[in-house]
Amino acid sequence: MSAGWVELFYLVATALFIFSLHWMNDPKTARRGVGAGALAMLLGVAATWAQPFVVNHGWMVLAVVAGIAVGYPLSRVALTAAPQRTALSHAFGGLAAALVGTAKYYLWLGEGPEELTTFRMVAIIAEVILGCITFTGSLFAAGKLQALKWVPQRAVTYPLQNVFNIALLLVAVAIGTWLALNPAAPAAALLFPVVIVIALMFGILLIIPIGGADMPTVIAILNSYAGLAAVAMGFVLENNLLITAGALDGSSGLILSIIMCKAMNRSYLNVLFGAFGSVPQTAPEGAEQGEYKADSPQSAAQIMEQATNVVIIPGYGMAVAQAQHRVRELYDHLKKRGITVHFAIHPVAGRMPGHMNVLLAEADVPYTDLVEMDDVNRDMPQCDVALVIGANDVVNPAAKEDESSPIYGMPIIEASKARTVFAIKRSKNPGFAGIDNALYFDEKTWMLFGDAKHVVGELIKELSGESAIH
């Protein structure tokens, strides 16, 4: 394939990638977006492969077949494992970038060191550092999310941690700068691996101080790094398709992490420069506690039956209990009785952005009944029953009222405005942010203690039993 055709294919692929992301703005067109993205990738691969100087077909087919063999099972994982799959995938992406950068460096060093201009060296170093950080960082994050035994789940902190990390990064950058200026010096071929090793270490050190529950933000940032590594690769190979696609990824990771930060009321710079944030402390044991009013599923079901307007507020607990299918049944039963039922979706409910939407979609809840926070808050005063299922922080009124609370300023779903609130959780333990929730002490709130799947099952039994008698 001649150079002109290759560039044309790349151009079309670029446009398709943009359309792919564009079409994600609406669930109706989103699948077309995936198609466009896959087609773009295919065009990119085909155009590159078909160039006359690409000759090692056997070897490459082997790699592709192996990739498909590993990739396909990875696409069938349970959706609850989607975050760790994404993290693992970022690790692969980072690895690829680091390997390509390294290969190009040694290739040019061997073939013609005059090719190693300062610009190219800067791009190679950036590619390799970003790729290595993404590789080990993502592997580690995936391990934390998968709750592997040998990966510490909680945040590991030690004195001078940040100082040490930054110093390490500075060393890598300093060596990198020297390499960029003296790419062909005798020491260079040996110093290059040093940079790689430091970057690999840095990736792990970056993730160690971050608690497992904070991983989704980290994954978004790593996505952004993977994108930037692709951009750097594009600069090295002078390939505009790589630059464009990488920049699209980079901005996606950036925006998602910022959305998460805003919704969690964490500082944005804190995240942009590596999420060195300390994890919120769990509430002191001895803190004064109000009175919880527990209720039975039976009486809760009776009250729900009388309602005309029910809002279900799902949270991380629904995901943990895998209760989404039961919740869907509950929704069906209520609808059958002519009750208006909506789901109130907080942007950071659960542990990844849009977590609740995927879970409920998996259980066949039509997405037209998933309502965004702002819209649902407006209608909350008209709501008879708010049913909180395993959500905690996202309905905590402290975010609006208590200026001293760590989550003060975070937007919440205002469940307390509903006439009656039922809350399903297993215990009196706090949620992710580790703080008590005044909603549960409210006089109109009744707690339904127990596993979400179990309690919702009880509610259904009650409702369907009733309907049999009628």
Binding site: I18, L21, H22, N25, P27, K28, A30, R31, V34, G37, A38, M41, G44, F53, V54, V55, N56, M60, A63, V64, G67, I68, G71, Y72, S75, R76, A82, T86, F92, G93, L95, A96, V100, A103, L107, T117, F119, A220, A226, A229, A230, M233, N240, I243, A245, A247, L248, D249, G250, S251, L256, I345, P353, G354, H355, V358, D364, P366, Y367, T368
Partner: protein
């Protein structure tokens, strides 16, 4: 009102700073390289590699990325993460360029591993995104 803005305030700031820093670095580099006589009749003469068009492409695609991603439906943020993950596997192009030509076997090996890793991402990324999206249904299923 806020939703209609193409870019939020912070993006403006971040982009300006990034452009400034990158720009000055690049200029420093291109000025240290032998400066060619950039007469209007000779285009590609700003240093050894003419990287400025690439910088333009980077700037413009970042703008597009920020604009497009901010409009992605909140419903779809989880599939968006896996879709962009799949797109970042575009590194496959680089892997082919390293694994394909007639180069020493070590280099080819590195390229081959990179190719394997990227293909894994492509396959799993697009398939799982599609799997998730298939679940989003508009109307009451029967």
């Amino acid at each position: 009102m806020n939703r209609r803005r193409y870019l939020p305030r912070w993006a403006v700031t971040v982009l300006s700073v990034a452009i400034g820093v990158a720009g000055i670095a690049l200029v420093a580099q291109s000025d240290s390289a032998p400066v060619a006589q950039a007469s209007p009749s000779q285009g590609n003469a700003a240093g050894d590699v003419d990287y400025w068009p690439m910088v333009f492409v980077f700037l413009l695609s970042t703008f597009i990325g920020l604009g497009v991603i901010r409009r992605v439906s909140r419903l779809l943020h989880t599939p968006l993460m896996s879709l962009t993950n799949a797109i970042s596997a575009i590194a496959v192009v680089g892997a082919i360029l390293v694994a394909g030509p007639d180069v020493p076997p070590t280099i080819r090996l590195l390229g081959g591993i990179a190719l394997f890793a990227s293909v894994t991402n492509i396959v799993s990324g697009f398939l799982i995104t599609d799997r998730m999206l298939k679940m989003f249904k508009r109307d009451e299923p029967s």
